[in-house]
């Protein structure tokens, strides 16, 4: 049985008419509402999900907000951490995009690309979005 699952995000999705990337909130649901231990690895461009101070409120069509509720991926990342999920960010991928450790949601763990191998080995199942 896959009691411990690692969910990997590679490409971020913004402003898709959902409050956040549906894969991200499905993962948050796993963290908070199921007995499965769900942890998250953000790599490639998806490292932006852990960046604080994201703001989607400028996006409108004919004056109507594309996102009615003020949310963003960082809020979901913070929520998962608060509910026991571990969120890892690949340091090299963050650095390549000019993202400093101080830009990230508190509690996010920076790991090297090489360390991701051990992370995968330590989980029963891996889901890649």
């Amino acid at each position: 049985m896959a009691e411990k699952t690692l969910v990997i995000f590679e490409k971020p999705i913004y402003l898709c008419m959902e409050p956040v990337d549906p894969h991200l909130f499905a993962t948050a649901f796993g963290v908070v509402e199921t007995p499965v231990e769900v942890n998250v690895l953000l790599r490639d461009s998806a490292v932006t999900y852990a960046v604080e101070r994201q703001d989607m409120k400028g996006a409108k069509v004919l004056g109507v907000d594309v996102q009615e509720f003020d949310t963003n991926p960082a809020r979901v990342v913070k929520f998962m951490i608060e509910n026991g999920g571990q969120v890892y960010v690949v340091r090299e991928d963050a650095e390549a995009r000019g993202i400093a450790p101080t830009d990230l949601v508190p509690g996010v763990r920076l790991i090297s690309r090489e360390e991701t191998v051990g992370l995968i080995e330590n989980h029963d199942a891996v889901m890649v979005w």
């Binding site: 913004y14 409050p19 549906p22 509402e33 996006a59 509720f69």
Partner: protein
């Protein structure tokens, strides 16, 4: 045929479906600005993009455990398309055409919004030929 100065007609070919990418949102925002500038817009929805105009979409509630971070519910994309089509009634014109083959494949032919036209590949090429500018967004965007 292409004009030297100032586009008056833009064809947008969109193949991205609902709720999976940013491209449909970008197309809606772009269409709004083009209409504001008096540019006629023809959107030709192809592949998964034909689901954007499914009239049976409804606002749905978010899971209770996540409502604190996501809100109670969110609206659907067809609402914004309907708003833009209505905006086009009083100025530059927006036509939204869904590919007949794509709606039939997906079983959504009878579910298209009333203001949407179901068209053929021939319509696509007529739009392209008539346009001053053509923007194509593939399904992986």
């Amino acid at each position: 045929m292409a004009r030297q100065n100032g586009a008056k007609s833009v064809a947008i070919v969109l193949a991205t479906g609902s709720y999976e990418r940013e491209a449909p949102t970008t197309v809606l925002r772009l269409a709004e600005k083009l209409l504001e500038r008096g540019v006629n817009v023809n959107v030709w929805a192809f592949e998964e993009a034909v689901t954007l105009t499914n009239k049976d979409q409804i606002d749905h509630s978010e899971p209770g455990a996540l409502q604190g971070i996501l809100g109670e519910k969110h609206s659907h994309v067809s609402k914004y398309i309907d708003m833009l089509l209505r905006a086009g009634l009083h100025g530059a014109k927006l036509d939204w055409v869904s590919c007949v083959l794509c709606v039939q494949e997906r079983g959504v032919e009878k579910h298209q919004m009333n203001s949407v036209t179901i068209g053929t590949l021939g319509d696509l090429w007529k739009f392209v030929r008539a346009a001053d500018r053509v923007i194509t967004i593939p399904s992986y965007r």
